[in-house]
Amino acid sequence: MKSGDVEDVEIRLLLEGVQEIYGYDFRDYADASIKRRLTHWLAESEFDTFSQAQSRLLRERSVFESLLRGITVNVTEMFRDPAFFRAVREQVVPFLKTYPFVKIWHAGCATGEEAYSMAILLNEEGMAGRYRMYATDINEAVLQKAAEGVMPITEMQRFTRNYQKSGGSVSFADYYTARYDRAILSAALKKDIVFAPHNLAVDGEFGEMNMVLCRNVMIYFKPPLKERCLQLFDSSLLAGGFLCLGLKESLEKKQIGARYEELAAPLRIYRKHYG
């Protein structure tokens, strides 16, 4: 038996234990990615093997929380995929503006970059004060960071470029204050966003949404969990509402697909049919 095979057994046992004791089922996550993240967590931890980690992981909540933080952290950037944000600005916002007030669910918001991007876009389009965005994530540590709205200043150059490509027209520097090595996002962007914990694997829907964004989160899930998420989004969305997925995610061959049309191919913006 090779050492890699032993590690696979260790990981299987560990995930089983985590599920039984803490209720988080990472066996629903795609194997290759979860293994990379687990291995990364192990390398940064004080343990040499997963077997060695297991005993304390199952007994000490704090050890489990460090694992949870390590394996559920998604990274993104402001205005990731500028063409997507441009399409939202040009093709989705005109519909949203016909409502007096809109509700948006951003599922798997991580550290909030895309939620703040959406807030910038909506405010620029004259919707300030006319929307509420529920930005959720399984990982409470990243949510806390998201709520703070503080980004490394080194990222701002890249974010500014993305913003400009997405059709943004004012000076991006107006949206943050630079303080040493950090950029503090302006309070005006935060006031219509509610950050809250939500686990896509077990928690329920958010009712009567006009828009649901969940980009590059389901790519980490196995097909049954993906299907559960899509059902959840579908039951959260009003007729005529918009579902936005990552550029490599689609509703093709998915159960809910028949109720949606793709508005801006290939940018994965779908609109739910009426009736």
């Binding site: 696979d8 990379r36 993240r37 990274v75 063409a83 790519i219 490599k248 689609s250």
Partner: protein, 206 residues
Amino acid sequence: MASTFQAVVIGVSTGGLQALQKLLGQLPADFPLPILIVQHVRPDAGSSLAKLLDERCALRVKEADEQDEILPGTVYIAPPNYHLLVERAGFLSLSADPYVSFARPSIDVLFESAAEVFGPDLIGVVLTGANFDGSRGLQAIKQQGGTAIVQDPADAEARQMPQAAIAATAATGVDYVVALDGMAALLQKLAPRRATLPHITRGRNA
């Protein structure tokens, strides 16, 4: 002894378009192994690379989608801004995790995940490039008993990546260092005679 290879993984960077056109262009439509490729591209490069190669090669070339089944005689190109990984069950997956070896898609990520799944039945190929991505991945392939092919640095448009791959696998040694011109013939010689669906023997969580 009959070949038991189940897949080829290729990593390429600077000068990749020409190199891939030449290599894939010389492979026949009935080449029996799936080929998974990471070519470094800009995040907003779009899907034009797969389309272009598909038009110019006998093999079917497509941009990899998540949950694509790995089929013989098909070439899968990692999409811009995503890592490409091999799942145990013989399917592909994508990840938006941070850059690895300064790249996304990263050659190391593809090679390491493929090495885990295919073990000794994998051929890893490092072509031209001006960085060090692929070195760790090729090492992983050798550690699992796979076969390593590197483009002769003297023949490469950018020699750093092949050179780094040769240096990184010094302990086990690279199996073949060849010019691009001889690579298609070598792959055909190594491949089994008939196409077989990748048979994932090592994973038990499939």
